[in-house]
Structure formats: structure tokens, C-alpha cells
């Protein structure tokens, strides 16, 4: 009895796990979180039981699938905070995070919704929001950001951004860029209107 460590997966199991995660990421990305576990199992060419053994609940799968984007999010915040020009940092932050969310419907949903058990997920979000507060403080001090901006407005921005539905990822990204620019413009303390990214045709979607 060789006393294998319980945390070491067998090679085939590890492969399956990776494939499941990869499939989950891409599927959640362009179809949102409403995809059924069975569907993911099907696409990963895995039995439902395997999926459930690896990720006991949908929540676990989602959390695991999106740690990457969550990290990208916090990185964007750090970058914004690190920028010597706080207003440029603020804009960068908004644009990056909006782009991140626009690329990935599922992530937005995951980010917005509070899973009761995904503690580290919500923790990261809280930490990010605190950093944003600091960044906003500096940008206000520099006279570039409206003094009446509050952190909750970031949530408002993210929610607004999450409302975008487009026929292609590219269109969604473009629309998101324009919206982000528009909101930044709205929050700018400086007078004149600055140029916007191009507008996008947003065809209405057939009913889901």
C-alpha cells in the first residue's frame, strides 16, 4: 500500500478536470451561467457523474472557472492604482474592467452574484473595491474626477456594462468601449467633451 497522497489525481482524471474547466470557461463565456451542468459534461465528453465528482456543485465549477478573470480584474485595479496620473489610472481601470466583463457574459454574472460559499471570490471583490476608493480619492484630489463619484458608482458602471447584448463578441466589445468612454466622460470633472470610440449597430436579439 503505497500511501498515495489524496490530492494527487490520476493522469486521466487530471486530463478530464482540465478539459471540463476549459469547456466551462468558454461555454460560460458566450452563453452565460444558465448553461446546464449536463451540457458542459456533454461538451467535455464526460459523464455527468465525473463532472459532479470533480465539482460537487455548479457554484464550485463557476468559481474555479473564473479565478483567472478575477485575477485579471484585481491586476487591472493594481495597475490603475500604480499609475502616477490617477485620472489616467482611473480611466484605464474602468476601460479594462468593462472590456473584461464584455468579453465574458458568464464572468459578469458570476462577479455580480454573491455565491454564499465562494468566500475568496467576494473577498477579492471587496479588496478591489477598497483600492478603487483610494484611486478615486486621488483622482478627485487632482481635480479630474467629479467629487460626487462614489464606489457604488463602479458597481453601477459594471451593471450597466453587463446589460450589453450583441450578436458577436466583437460588437459587444465595441459597444462596451463606447459605453465606458461615455461613463468616463460623465464622471469627468473637466469641461469639454472628449472624443468617443465609434458607435455600434446593436441589432435586437431574438427572444431567448
Amino acid at each position: 500500500m503505497p500511501e498515495r497522497l489524496p490530492h494527487t489525481l490520476r493522469s486521466d482524471a487530471r486530463d478530464n478536470r482540465e478539459r471540463i474547466l476549459s469547456v466551462a470557461r468558454s461555454t460560460f463565456a458566450d452563453a452565460g451561467l444558465d448553461v446546464s451542468m449536463r451540457e458542459i459534461a456533454r461538451r467535455a465528453e464526460v459523464g455527468p457523474a465525473t463532472l459532479y465528482r470533480r465539482f460537487p456543485t455548479k457554484e464550485a465549477l463557476v468559481t474555479e472557472a473564473f479565478t483567472e478573470q478575477m485575477n485579471a480584474c484585481t491586476v487591472a485595479v493594481e495597475e490603475g492604482l500604480a499609475d502616477p496620473d490617477p485620472w489616467r489610472g482611473f480611466c484605464h481601470l474602468i476601460e479594462t474592467v468593462c472590456a473584461l466583463h464584455a468579453r465574458d457574459r458568464g464572468f459578469t454574472a458570476a462577479f455580480m452574484s454573491s455565491f454564499p460559499h465562494a468566500i475568496d471570490f467576494t473577498a477579492a471583490r471587496e479588496r478591489a473595491l477598497r483600492s478603487v476608493t483610494e484611486l478615486a480619492r486621488r483622482a478627485k484630489a487632482a481635480g479630474k474626477l467629479r467629487p460626487d463619484f462614489v464606489v457604488d458608482d463602479l458597481v453601477l458602471i459594471l451593471m450597466a456594462n453587463s446589460g450589453i447584448r450583441a450578436s458577436s463578441p466583437a460588437a459587444a466589445a465595441a459597444a462596451s468601449r463606447r459605453l465606458a468612454a461615455l461613463l468616463i466622460q460623465g464622471f469627468s470633472a473637466e469641461p469639454g467633451p472628449r472624443p468617443l470610440p465609434p458607435a455600434v449597430r446593436l441589432p435586437l436579439m431574438p427572444v431567448a
Copy 2:
């Protein structure tokens, strides 16, 4: 054989129809369009068959339930167009329509999605969009609206507005007001920032 007109419903049937519509309106309003037909039947204290006999498809029910809001929408557009100050009319339009959509999740979904068969619905929408184009033209001519505004931006605004989720209808309305003001600010051609409605605490929702 008294030759009853086929369009006259029996009294009890008419009652049921009204009750169904009323229930559908309120239910769609605060839970979106994803409510099942059965659920609506249950709340209206009616068998599924009755619901389906009166409204052969969910689309029919939705269309019928939201004609009221749709009319309110076109009225808002007309009012905006009628305002002698095109910029004030434009702002009024954006604010009203956003408020209308914020009050009613289901309506937003219905408005955004294109039902293949709800011809009159989409027709009204097209007509409204054309009026908006005219209003925008005037507001631009008055130098109040950015020249790079396009009608598709209204769709963008509506989508953004539809992304708002809040714990209470009041909070949703408040958030929508602030967002609308922000976007109007973004589209303003004039220099200085104008005051915004108060910010809103937007608690994240438990996963749907």
C-alpha cells in the same frame, strides 16, 4: 340559436382573462420574462389550459401585457419631440424611458428582444426610433447634443439601463436615474459637469 358574436367572451371567461393579464403584468414586472406560464396560471388561480386557450403562446401574453408600457414609451417620445427646447426634450425622453424600463424588468426584456410575430410591437419601436433621430438632429443643431450621437446609442443606453439590478424597485429607480443623468452628461456637447441625482448603494444579489 341566438348567434352570439364570436368575439364576446362569457363573463367568467372575461374575468379570468383580466386576472391573468393583471397577474402577468405584475409578475413579469418584478421577476422578468423567465417566469413560467404555469406559474402565472397558478398565481391567477387558473388551470394551465385556460391560460393557453386565452394566450396561445407566451409571446402573445407578453405582448398583450406590455402594450400599456409600450404606449407610455411612444408618448414619452412624442413629448420629447414636442418640447420647444430640443435638448430638454431629449433629456426628458432619456429619463422617462429609462425610468419606465427600470420600473419593469419584464418590459425591458420584451422591448429588447424581437419576437418574430409581434409585428405591431416592433413596428411601434421602429417608429419611436425614427422620432428620436429627428429629436437628436434638432438637439445637435442647437449645439447641446454631441454631434457624434447616433440612434444606436439610445439602444446602448437602454441596454445599459437594463443591466441594473437592485434589491428594491425604489433602489432600481434611483440607480436608473443616476445612470441616465450620467449618460446624458456624457452626451452633452456643453462644457461643465452638471449635478447628478444621488448615488445608490447597490448590494449584490444572491445568484439567481
